[in-house]
C-alpha cells in the first residue's frame, strides 16, 4: 500500500476502523517516512499537552429559583413513566385480587392463554383515563377556588359600600340639623328686632 492511501492522522487520532488500523500499522512498520511522520505528530501532541488545563477562577453553581422550577403540571407530565408503572402495578394487583377473592371461587381458575396485547391496551387505557381525570379534577378545583374568591371579594366590596353610604347619610342629616338650628336662631333674632321697633 502506498503512503498516499494511508490515513496516518486518522490512525494517530484513533479514528480508524479495526481493519484499516491493522493495515496502517503494517504499513508504518515497513515505511520509514510514515514512521517519522507519526513521530512528529506524537511530538506535536506532547507539546500541546504542555499547555495545562486550568481550574475556573470561581466555581459555577446555581441556587433554586422559582422562575426556573417546573410547574406542578410539568412535574406531573415528566413523571409519566413512574405514573404509568404505578398505575400498571395497581391494576395488576386489582386483577389478581379480583381473581383470588371472587365469591364462590376457592381455587385459582385454570391457566389460560394470556393476551398481553389486551392487557397492555387495558393498562394504557386505564393510565390515560386516570391522567385525564386527574387533570380535569385539578382544573375544576382551581376554577372553584377562583369563583369562591371572586364571590368573597364582591361581598366585601358590598359591605364596604353600604357602610360608606350609611356614614354619608348620617353626615347629611347632621348638616341639615345644624342648618335648621341656625335658621331658627336667625328667625327669632329678626322677630325680636321687629317687635322692639
Amino acid at each position: 500500500m502506498s503512503c498516499k492511501r494511508i490515513d496516518l492522522k486518522g490512525y494517530f487520532l484513533g479514528e480508524l476502523a479495526e481493519a484499516e488500523r491493522r493495515e496502517t500499522e503494517a504499513h508504518v512498520r515497513a515505511c520509514g517516512e510514515c514512521r517519522e511522520e507519526l513521530e512528529r505528530l506524537g511530538a506535536t501532541r506532547a507539546a500541546l499537552a504542555a499547555l495545562p488545563e486550568e481550574e475556573p477562577p470561581r466555581k459555577i453553581a446555581f441556587v433554586s429559583d422559582k422562575i426556573f422550577e417546573p410547574r406542578w403540571w410539568q412535574r406531573f407530565w415528566h413523571s409519566g413513566p413512574q405514573l404509568g408503572f404505578a398505575s400498571a402495578a395497581v391494576l395488576a394487583v386489582a386483577i389478581l385480587a379480583h381473581a383470588f377473592l371472587r365469591p364462590g371461587s376457592t381455587a385459582p381458575p385454570p391457566a389460560q392463554a394470556v393476551d398481553t396485547a389486551a392487557i397492555e391496551a387495558r393498562i394504557e387505557g386505564e393510565v390515560s383515563r386516570r391522567l385525564q381525570a386527574a387533570v380535569e379534577k385539578a382544573a375544576m378545583e382551581s376554577e372553584a377556588r377562583q369563583s369562591q374568591r371572586t364571590a368573597e371579594l364582591v361581598q366585601a366590596l358590598e359591605r364596604k359600600f353600604e357602610q360608606q353610604r350609611q356614614a354619608d347619610l348620617l353626615a347629611v342629616e347632621e348638616n341639615m340639623d345644624m342648618l335648621r338650628k341656625r335658621w331658627n336662631v336667625m328667625y327669632m333674632a329678626s322677630s325680636e328686632l321687629g317687635g322692639t321697633q
Binding site: 492522522k9 512528529r40 511530538a43 500541546l48 486550568e54 470561581r58 412535574r75
Partner: protein, 182 residues
C-alpha cells in the same frame, strides 16, 4: 464511561424535575472542561468564566429539549460553541469571519514557560474553526462524529479542520518540542 453516562443521565432527570442540586453536581463535573475550551477559544479568563456561566444557565433552561441524555456532552459543547462564537463576533463586529484570540493568555503561567508560550502562539495562528477543532479533538478527546454534532457540520468538515490544524501545529511545535526535550 458507561457508568459515568448513566450517572449523568440520572442527574439530568433530576434537574428536569426541578432539583437544582442535581444540576449543580452535573455542572461541577463539566465546568472545568467547558471553561478550558472557552478559555482557549476566547483567550481571556474572565470572559471564559462569564461565557461558561451563560452556557450552563442556557443548558439548564433548555434541558427539556435534550431528547437523548447520553448525548449531553456534544449538546453542551454545542451551546458552548454558539456562545463562544457569538462572543468572538461581538468582539470583532467589523469582520464576517470569527475572530482569533489576538494575544497569548494573560495572567500567571506554569512551567515550562517557553513551551507554553510556543503552544499558545501556535494555537493563536490557527483560524478560530481550526483551533476549536483541535481543542475538541486533542484536548477534549471527542470523536469526529461528536464534534460534528456539537458544531452542526459534516464529519468531513471536522476532519479537514483537524488535519489542516495538525499540519500547521506540527510545523511550529514538533521542532520546538525536540529542542525543549534535548
Amino acid at each position: 464511561m458507561i457508568f459515568r453516562e448513566a450517572e449523568d443521565s440520572d442527574l439530568i432527570q433530576g434537574a428536569r424535575r426541578g432539583k437544582v442540586e442535581a444540576y449543580n453536581v452535573l455542572v461541577s463535573r463539566w465546568e472545568r472542561r467547558v471553561y478550558n475550551y472557552l478559555l482557549r477559544l476566547v483567550g481571556d479568563r474572565e470572559d471564559a468564566l462569564d461565557l461558561a456561566q451563560e452556557v450552563f444557565l442556557k443548558a439548564y433552561q433548555s434541558l427539556g429539549k435534550l431528547h437523548d441524555a447520553s448525548r449531553f456532552a456534544p449538546w453542551l459543547f454545542r451551546i458552548a460553541h454558539n456562545e463562544a462564537f457569538s462572543h468572538l463576533r461581538r468582539r470583532r463586529p467589523d469582520t464576517d469571519a470569527p475572530a482569533e484570540p489576538a494575544q497569548p493568555l494573560r495572567g500567571p503561567r506554569l512551567l515550562p514557560v517557553e513551551l507554553s508560550l510556543a503552544v499558545e502562539s501556535a494555537l493563536a495562528r490557527l483560524t478560530a474553526e481550526q483551533r476549536e477543532a483541535v481543542l475538541l479533538k486533542i484536548f477534549q478527546g471527542f470523536k469526529f462524529e461528536e464534534i460534528a454534532e456539537a458544531l452542526d457540520c459534516p464529519v468531513s468538515t471536522v476532519k479537514s479542520r483537524v488535519y489542516t490544524a495538525l499540519d500547521l501545529l506540527k510545523e511550529s511545535l514538533a521542532p520546538m518540542d525536540r529542542r525543549g526535550v534535548e
